[in-house]
Symmetry: C3
Subunit: 263 residues, 3 copies
């Protein structure tokens, strides 16, 4: 059997309002066979950086099809609503850096359009709700087989607003990283690849001196969350291959006073 | 391909308990082809007014099929469990005003029953969980093609408990409205149609004097959320065609001390 | 039409991160026809007892197929990742007591394996995310028709880690129970079957003296939530057949200072 057409959907809409359900309704009216994966809708409101990172972490695990991302503080301004084609699918959303890291992980955009076609939009009675009226209809149209070119005017796929991927900084033999993500279990993911540590002659193992804010503390490297002693924060290479500070039954973030960097 | 049968589901069950998943299971055991849209399940517990308004906002965007709404403070009392037919589908839920505004937007009920058929209920071991035992089975039965009349005794579709749709009040040339909804982004939707303002000779544009509680403040009309200056609350016609007070990156509700009216 | 293969999924992943969406993606890449029921993902982090109880309450309402449960404080330690066969389906998850009560309610395990097959795992770049890399792939494989025996080495199905099902204690003619669950509506489910009360000559009706912590108070038995007077906490047999303390429009737990027992 053929796989049904798929839209994987991420937003900052939350679940308390009916925004997500309405976008599902809009898409299923256009493409009744559609299967929708809700990646998450609890990106903090307007936090493009957090949305872009979540999308980049998720994208390699999604089925082929359309990725719909909506974190859009500039709705109604002149930021471009876009769709881009990649190997095996499409990305739809605002051109504000939300999609760019995931698009890059999917091999880069091969084509792009600004979503200007009135035929593939819903009429809005007042201020714009582009998720409902522009992005969801475009995603469903692409999933149902409509050509990318029918959705609007072509743009240079290289003109996408880049995402801000934070870089590490090396100083006096130490790597200065940044917090990418604090998850539900209190794990703190950093933008540090263990290879970078090794290339500087630093060990990924034993005990490392970690400076957080104004204080430095020794943290033990472990291979699994369960290897930490009760109440001990540890270092490990997480399931995305990045260095994380992990709590043991608690929140490393709370314990150590860590907050994600701001975009 | 035929569209699969669809149930669009709204409740105040939240997501922390397994209530929503259990209702999905009950429906899919009855109709395995079913597609379920979760409109939202985070209506505040027992808030029939908030549920009715969310359903009314969503209904025009849902596919044809069955709408299942469960916000039911009177479960186990003598409020009627009902199903009504409309053009293109059915509504199922308690007869307490939750469904009425959405039924009206769908063109009004053409037929109705009280859900008395034991054959289409699950046996309950104790106090009633009507979402699981009465409403979900009825919704799945209707979606699978069972006749409305088989689910129970016919009622006059005009006998539905009406929803309380708040009216505006005009006094001394000013329109007194009510807060319908405060969304995740802090936007405050009022029950005021911009046409009503225009019909009174009030401008929908420029700067308006808005009284909130005991204080009056000037708010600027804008056409898009993004047109507000940093930290400025503004007025706009929202994506449902109603007047809203919108914050810029924050919560208008928090800033201005606004709360939704109580049912 | 044949029912599509089904996975019913419960976890403590929450919805704020993309964990649930990623597991959906992993499963749908393996079995595109799959239908996924999200039982709940808001089990408190690492609370195996709460997860086991929710799964046991839900299981009788789920369609045939695979049940995937992931509440896994011991991820990366030597607790076993398992799949077991029952009449009409399979259970997949960690062998830590999470699955055992639901497996028992489904008639008991007839076969079991430890999930050791590399062929049915995703490669992990660092510390384990077994939900994504081990359990979701196994659940999807079983749903798609792969034989249980292909997923790993057979284990004695009777060797499953039992769940801790709390027992009541009878002393001086009184039944001492334990709080199993406090739901969104503030209802407090106890591990007391009304038959146990009757067998001791206690009445399920009238007014009962209930001791909570250090204080005793009279609570009235009712048959439906709606039969309580405003602000009155009551006793009833709930929709699972167990004794519950129910608030009337509020939280019995908050009112009476009740908290769930710890595992």
């Amino acid at each position: 059997m053929d796989a049904p057409p798929t839209v994987s959907f991420l937003s900052d809409y939350g679940r308390a309002d009916e925004f997500v359900g309405v976008c599902h309704g809009v898409m299923l009216r256009i493409e009744p066979r559609l299967r929708i994966i809700d990646i998450t809708h609890d990106i903090p409101p307007h936090d493009v950086r957090a949305g872009a990172l979540a999308l980049a972490r998720a994208v390699q695990y999604l089925p082929e099809g359309v990725v719909l991302g909506v974190v859009d503080p500039g709705v109604g301004t002149d930021r471009r609503p876009i769709a881009v084609g990649v190997e095996g699918g499409f990305f739809v959303g605002p051109d504000n850096g939300l999609l760019a890291p995931a698009v890059a992980m999917a091999g880069g955009a091969t084509a792009g359009v600004v979503l200007t076609s009135e035929h593939h939009r819903l009429p809005a009675p007042g201020a714009t709700f582009d998720g409902r009226d522009v992005f969801a209809p475009a995603a469903a149209a692409l999933a149902s087989g409509v050509d990318l070119g029918e959705l609007g005017d072509a743009i240079d796929p290289l003109s996408l607003q880049p995402g801000l991927l934070p870089l590490t900084r090396v100083e006096a033999g130490a790597v200065h990283g940044e917090v990418l993500w604090i998850d539900r279990f209190g794990n703190v993911q950093l933008n540090i690849d263990p290879e970078e540590l090794r290339s500087l002659g630093l060990e990924v193992g034993g005990v490392a001196e970690v400076r957080i804010g104004e204080s430095t503390r020794p943290l033990r490297w472990v291979e699994a969350y369960g290897a930490a002693r009760s109440g001990e924060a540890v270092l490990l290479v997480d399931s995305y291959g990045l260095v994380s500070v992990a709590p043991n039954q608690g929140s490393a973030a709370d314990e150590l006073g860590i907050r994600p960097a701001q975009a």
